[in-house]
């Protein structure tokens, strides 16, 4: 029982979901006031958390979730370990869904625009009005995003019976990938990728760790593939693209290709692997034409590099991932086809790529139908437009004319639960429930189902109603019978059918079992049918597409790794303040330029520039980044909101303003990488709200790496590593304390006072595998959610006062955008090291920080006077200070962190909320440790290894973190800390004896050992 579902958790979920779900389900009454429990509800014990399963509604990946509730309030979401997609992990965006649930900017009830102003209206009137207007409208559009399987079904039923048309549009949908799958293998699907099974991975710009398809699942698969395993087995990853995304930063090598030339690299590789195209079936001639030599000059990659890459690619199970959204240019479908050919010729189809068991529930309509809808709306042929689960005015380029077209419709309904740019022009607003308060379901791939169930009563501040219920009610009023009175009934009916498909005897039992486990397997398995390449039925052009505009700077607009497209999730302080994993910038937009290019243009970091294309212009500060080609300028999506709420509005710029509204010819996907851009300095400067100090380790042993070839020889090399220091000590120099102490040697002689150190007292310790860590920053948000860590606001981050307990450090070692070669970016989640010989402890004048007998360096918030001496003396700089009270309902100053009602409902009752003048830092989630210890004491049981999981470990998609008692020699953390790659940051310099061990990153290229 070291991982997976624990018995206790299992029972909790059994008890809670089965009984609780039905009771809490579909109440729409508002709770007027809180009453003490006269008759306490059976499943709620004050002080004990209740857990429910559900499915994350943040993106299409459909991660299974466990929802932690305390006293009837949702306080935390975590990955459901039994769910095949999340496998227990979650990304930052998933965690931040809590801030959408409790968002203070949610609509307080249904609204009707009268005379330009929104006025409250009752649900009855609103529904009646909608029924009348839809009835009168004739044709109407129902726009939606990714609402889940049953909701999609209901929408189709509703639209079908009332004369409407559903347009499903997801800005980040992989239309070219689906079209390429159709062209090559005759399947209009997004294939299922098995990263874990590959030994060699090539991404042609697909940001699979951030925004592409299923980041949590792929993050796990990637870490398992690329993390060094038994016997030094380590998968290799090459990134082919014009800019290093976070995914690219995790690569072992980088081919910085000419913008838009992925297809050529893929075909040239296929050429090498197929012996000049011989095994490429119908594409034989095409592949034969693209030899590495032929494409070298166009792609900017030497033939030798391509050949070498191809040869390694052909060696074992490998996998090529097609261009992602950032690379969605005019030839995107052809590029995807080229990648599919590459996978085919190296025998990956059926092993690491599966077209017969695809992923993602239902296809989005692409941009084509949206264009038609826009034309129809602006032509006045449409009587009404309904928008659900998407924010199209923001998510479509201004040049698409959606805003104007939509505004011209007579009756516009928005189901947005909080104000957004689309709701801002709607006539009627019928706020939907948040997915944590609502019923629903999702399929992450065929046959894999999960129920979305309400984990709490609807947040009482907001009079919301599930859109499914609204549609059913409106349909009834329009005289249509969709077979169910409520969406819950509708869902149950669908699930009764599923139960039949699954062969379950008892539909109710099947339903309850699905609620309990959070996942249902319904029969469909991969067909296993052999795929074969088909003759292309459309004309394919593989050469790099044309870019509009003059000059040589190509504009890359990429989905933010924090927000994706940011249409619906930007109004969340956790996401706004999460340092972008690449730039480490928070809150505002930035323009990425290569430092050499910037220098040539006379631009420095922080200079504000105007980017302009023929479609628009935006103004943002420059951040120079060596991981981008000199002829590319990059700008992230997701910022620049005008009507999305108090936390999002006015931050940064909307990158889509620079883009044309153009569908890729073959797939109908909206193109993002299509234009050149003009960059002009404004002469203004601004300080970047960045958490990054220096990007260089400055010759310090912070994140040393080891070459794969050098593994195993490490032990011998160990002696030399301490070279100068030991020499000094051996020569009669000052030898303070034993510097070779292990984390288990605790407490150190001389470091103890008080009743410490029974033999059987645990010492809690952590080990973080930097070979697995991808820098995705999920742990940062998980920690923030768990520990009531406040957000501080842009001005404070700019000053350096960010309060994250985990600082995900990012150091560049080798980043060269001028030619193909190794790339080496080091990530290090820096947390309190819980030093055995902690420098912070002796300097605190009031014992606010001290050691517990089980080796945790604790911070007693109530005792802290705020001298900040501990932070000065912490060599790791992990102590963060409450410069203001960031936890009040009102900000101390405009723009400062605060927790307005009802965001404070999210606060974890197990953790103290801190005020101005208090130091804080990682506590190893001590409340979780104590919870388990207390329960073990009450039950007379013992704590097993792996039972206590801190929030960061729980959330880590890469499984890079292990936690436990290092004195238990069999524990995972003890084993990890004795790994040959294990080291402790700065230990030999400052002799802090940390409890946190890091495992060195393993590189394929030779590295300086990191010691000096």
């Amino acid at each position: 029982m070291t991982d997976g579902l624990k018995r206790r958790d299992f029972l909790k979920v059994v008890g809670a979901s089965g009984a609780g779900a039905g009771v809490l389900g579909c109440s729409t009454e508002r709770v007027e006031r809180l009453l003490p429990y006269v008759v306490p509800p059976e499943e709620i014990t004050p002080g004990v958390a209740t857990w429910y399963t559900t499915v994350c509604g943040e993106c299409e990946a459909g991660c299974g979730m466990w929802v932690r509730t305390r006293e009837g309030r949702v306080v935390k979401v975590e990955g459901n370990p039994t769910h095949p997609v999340s496998q227990g992990s979650l990304c930052s965006r998933g965690h931040s869904s809590l801030q959408a649930l409790y968002n203070p900017d949610r609509f307080t009830g249904p609204m009707l625009r009268q005379g330009g102003e929104l006025q409250s209206i009752s649900w009855e009137d609103a529904e009646q009005m909608m029924a009348e207007r839809l009835g009168a409208a004739g044709d109407y559009y129902l726009f939606t995003g990714s609402p889940g399987a049953s909701m999609s079904g209901l929408m189709s039923d509703f639209a079908g019976s009332t004369g409407g048309q559903v347009v499903r549009y997801d800005p980040l949908a992989e239309a070219p990938l689906r079209e390429a799958s159709r062209i090559t293998f005759g399947r209009d699907v997004v294939p299922w990728y098995d990263l874990e099974e590959a030994d060699f991975l090539v991404s042609f710009g697909a940001d699979f760790l951030e925004s592409w398809l299923s980041p949590v699942r792929d993050g796990r698969g990637f870490a398992r593939m690329s993390g060094v395993g038994e016997g030094g087995a380590k998968g290799r990853f090459a990134f082919v693209g014009s800019r290093l995304s976070l995914t690219g930063q995790n690569a072992d090598e980088w081919l910085p290709i000419q913008p838009g030339s992925e297809a050529l690299v893929a075909l040239a590789m296929a050429n090498v692997l197929s012996g000049g195209g011989g095994s490429a079936g119908p594409y034989r001639d095409i592949v034969a034409a693209y030899t590495p030599e032929n494409v070298a000059s166009v792609t900017g990659v030497e033939a030798e590099s391509i050949r070498e890459l191809a040869e390694r690619f052909g060696e074992g199970p490998s996998l090529a991932l097609g261009p992602g959204v950032a690379g969605l240019h005019r030839g995107a479908t052809a590029a995807n086809v080229a990648v599919a050919i590459l996978n085919w010729v190296s025998g990956n189809v059926g092993t690491t790529v599966h077209y017969d068991a695809p992923q993602l529930e239902a296809p989005s309509s692409g941009f084509g139908p949206m264009e038609q809808a826009i034309t129809a709306m602006s032509g006045g042929q449409v009587g009404a437009a309904l928008v659900h689960g998407s924010n199209l005015v923001y998510a479509l380029p201004a040049s698409s004319g959606f805003r104007e077209a939509f505004s011209s419709v007579d009756f516009k309904v928005s189901f947005a639960s909080a104000m957004d740019e689309t709701a801002a022009v709607a006539d009627l607003i019928l706020p939907d429930r948040h997915f944590l308060e609502a019923w629903g379901d999702a399929t992450s791939r065929p046959g894999q189902w999960a129920v979305r169930q309400p984990a709490m009563r609807p947040v009482p501040h907001f009079d919301s109603k599930q859109t499914g219920d609204v549609l059913l009610s409106v349909a009834t009023q329009m005289g249509q019978d969709l077979g169910s009175a409520t969406f819950y009934d509708y869902l149950r009916t669908r699930w009764a059918d599923l139960a039949t498909t699954a062969g379950a005897a008892d539909a109710d039992a099947f339903w309850h079992e699905s609620l309990r486990t959070g996942v249902a397997q319904v029969g469909v398995t991969p067909s296993g049918s052999a795929e074969s390449l088909r003759q292309p039925d459309r004309g394919l052009v593989f050469d790099p597409p044309a870019f509009d505009g003059a000059g040589d700077l190509h504009l890359m607009v990429y989905p933010s790794s924090r927000y994706g497209d940011g249409a619906l999730n930007a109004n969340r302080p956790w996401l706004q303040e999460l340092p972008d994993p690449v730039s480490k910038i928070t809150w505002h937009s930035w323009v990425e330029i290569h430092p050499d290019r910037a220098e040539a243009m006379g631009i420095r970091n922080g200079d504000v520039v105007v980017l302009s294309t023929e479609h628009g212009s935006v103004e943002a500060p420059v951040w120079t980044y060596p991981g981008i080609r000199e002829d590319v300028i990059a700008l992230a999506m997701g910022s620049g909101h005008t009507d999305a709420g108090r936390f999002a509005d006015g931050n940064g710029v909307n990158a889509l303003d620079l883009l044309p509204s153009e569908a890729e010819a073959l797939s109908g996907g909206l193109v993002h990488f299509v234009t050149k851009v003009d960059v002009q300095a404004t002469g203004e400067r601004r300080a970047l709200a960045s958490i990054a100090g220096s990007d260089s380790q400055s010759n310090r042993p912070i994140t040393p790496a080891v070459a794969l070839a050098g593994l195993g020889a490490e032990i011998g090399a160990e002696e030399d590593e301490h070279g100068p220091l030991q020499e000094l000590q051996g020569g009669g120099g000052f030898v303070p304390v034993e510097t070779e102490g292990l984390a288990t040697d605790f407490p150190l002689p001389g470091s103890q006072y008080g009743e410490y150190g029974e033999e059987d007292t645990p010492r809690w310790a952590m080990a973080i595998d930097l070979d697995k860590c991808t820098g995705c920053s999920a742990c940062v948000t998980a920690c923030q959610a768990e520990n009531n860590v406040p957000w501080v606001g842009e001005s404070q981050v700019t000053m350096g006062r960010d309060m994250g307990w985990i600082r995900l450090e990012r150091y560049y070692e080798t980043v060269d955008a001028s030619h193909a070669g190794p790339v080496d970016v080091r990530f290090l989640p820096m947390i309190c090291q819980h030093c055995g010989n902690a420098p912070c402890e002796p300097v605190c004048p009031v014992f606010a920080t001290y050691h517990t007998p089980d080796g945790i360096n604790t911070q007693v918030y109530n005792r802290c006077v705020g001298t900040r001496y501990c932070a000065n003396n912490c060599p790791y700089k992990v102590r963060v200070y409450n410069w203001y009270t960031y936890t009040g309902e009102e900000p101390v100053y405009e723009g400062l962190g605060h927790i307005p009602e009802p965001l404070n409902w999210q606060l974890n009752p197990d953790v103290t909320v801190r005020e101005n003048g208090i130091m804080e830092k990682c506590s190893f989630c001590i409340h979780r440790i104590r919870e388990h210890q207390d329960r073990a004491a009450v039950e007379g049981s013992t704590i097993t290894d792996g039972q206590i999981i801190p929030a960061c470990q729980q959330s880590c998609p890469a499984e890079a973190i292990v936690f436990g008692n290092i004195r238990d020699s069999g524990s995972a953390v003890a084993l990890a800390s004795h790994d040959e790659r294990a080291y402790r940051v700065l230990d030999e310099l400052v002799n802090t004896q940390p409890a946190v061990s890091y495992l060195k990153k393993v590189t394929f290229h030779e590295v300086d050992s990191g010691e000096h």
Binding site: A692, G693, S694, D695, S696, Q697, S698, N699, R700, I702, P724, Q796, M799, G800, R801, D802, R807, E809, R810, Y811, L828, M830, P839, P842, V843, C844, P845, V846, F847, R863, C864, V865, G866, T867, R868, Y869, A871, N872, N873, P875, Y876, K877, R879, V880, Y881, N882, W883, Y884, T885, V892, Y893, L896, N916, G917, I918, M919, L986, L989, V990, H1012
Partner: protein, 463 residues
Amino acid sequence: MSTATEVQRGALTHPDVQSLDEVNRDVLRSLGRPGKGWWALLALALAGMGVGGYSWGIQVIKGIGVTGLTSPVGWGVYITTFVFWVGIAHSGTLISAILFLFRAPWRQSIYRAAEAMTVFAVMTAGLFPLIHVGRVWHAYWLIPYPNSRFLWPNFRSPLVWDVFAVTTYFTVSAVFFYLGTIPDLAAARDAASGFRKKLYQVISLGWRGTDREWHHFGKAYIFLAALATPLVLSVHSVVSWDFAVAIVPGWHTTIFAPYFVAGAIFSGVAMVITLTVPLRKVFGLEAYLTTKHYDAMAKLCLMTSMIVFYAYLSEFFMAWYSGEEVERAAFWARLFGQYWWATWIMLTCNGIVPVMLWFKRVRYSIPALFAISIFVNIGMWFERYVIIVTSLHHEYEPFAWGVYRPSTVEMGILLGSFAWFGFWFLLFTRLIPPIAIAELKEVLPTTNRPRAIAGAGGQGGDQ
């Protein structure tokens, strides 16, 4: 107390003092009705205190965030100013206690002002730990006091040592200062009338100048001088350990205690010069505070300047010689990094400008000395700023490096601290004879010395 040699030396130092009678008259004249200038200065001081108090008020109400402090620079102007004022305090005790024990002939005229400066500087310094902490309403937790939870302060923390050092220093220097003034307060009492007479009657503790009183006075004074002497070394050593005990590169060196003590005396003597130059001008005390005094103080400045400069150089040398990357980087950043200007101000003001003191003409030029003393005051404030801020901003973790810029609130409080100090010093000039009348008389040659004083001195000398 004084021997014949001392009297001869005293005569040489004060050639223009004609009679002992004149001493009383000249010195006590300063206690008369204050002029417009004094009131203007007092108003200025009160205004400055208002600014400081207002700034502090904002900080307490809004949060410590109104400062420019940030991670990783958790200490800034407040601790800089704290160390600055503690340092200023030191020369007073040096002059009054150590020079007393060593029988230096030039101390009599300046020690009163220096000692007052000590007390007020400690009073100013003592405010800064309170201003600095995040939750001032809990600052008393640093003091060991009986409580039901048996919670003690952490005696391993240098900040607790600071609490003891500063409170001890304040207690001893205040008592020493007050004791020394008693005979002069009695003299003032005899010369005053009205309310002031009543005040002096109370605070002079009924001093009559009997042999017995002089005897006890002499004993008490010498004991207190002996008691205060180690504090000159210990208090600033303890303050230096706030830094040296930490592992911050740039702080963690054994040189800090002597280096800080030398710096303290350096800055303190400079401050004495800064304060007494206008004092002697305004009150016409040129005959008592002569160029010989200033020459002596300038020499003290010169010597301590050399010690301090040597300490700077040895720090840079050791950083290089250690071969330690982090240490080297810290000192490189100190010289050429973000805060290079502060470091070069420090080096120029404390190491280069005082070189002029080698020249006798400079040492004997009051305006030149005044100017140099201002440089030193600025340089010594920046020395602490450099030590604190540049070390913290460039520590072990490169990714956590950051920049600190003082805010207006901090500047307001810095201004307020000078105003607060000035306020007390202004009161001092009007309430307490700024030159030790009785002691000065001891070293002046005269034929008609009152028997009482000569007797006390004679006994001391005979034993």
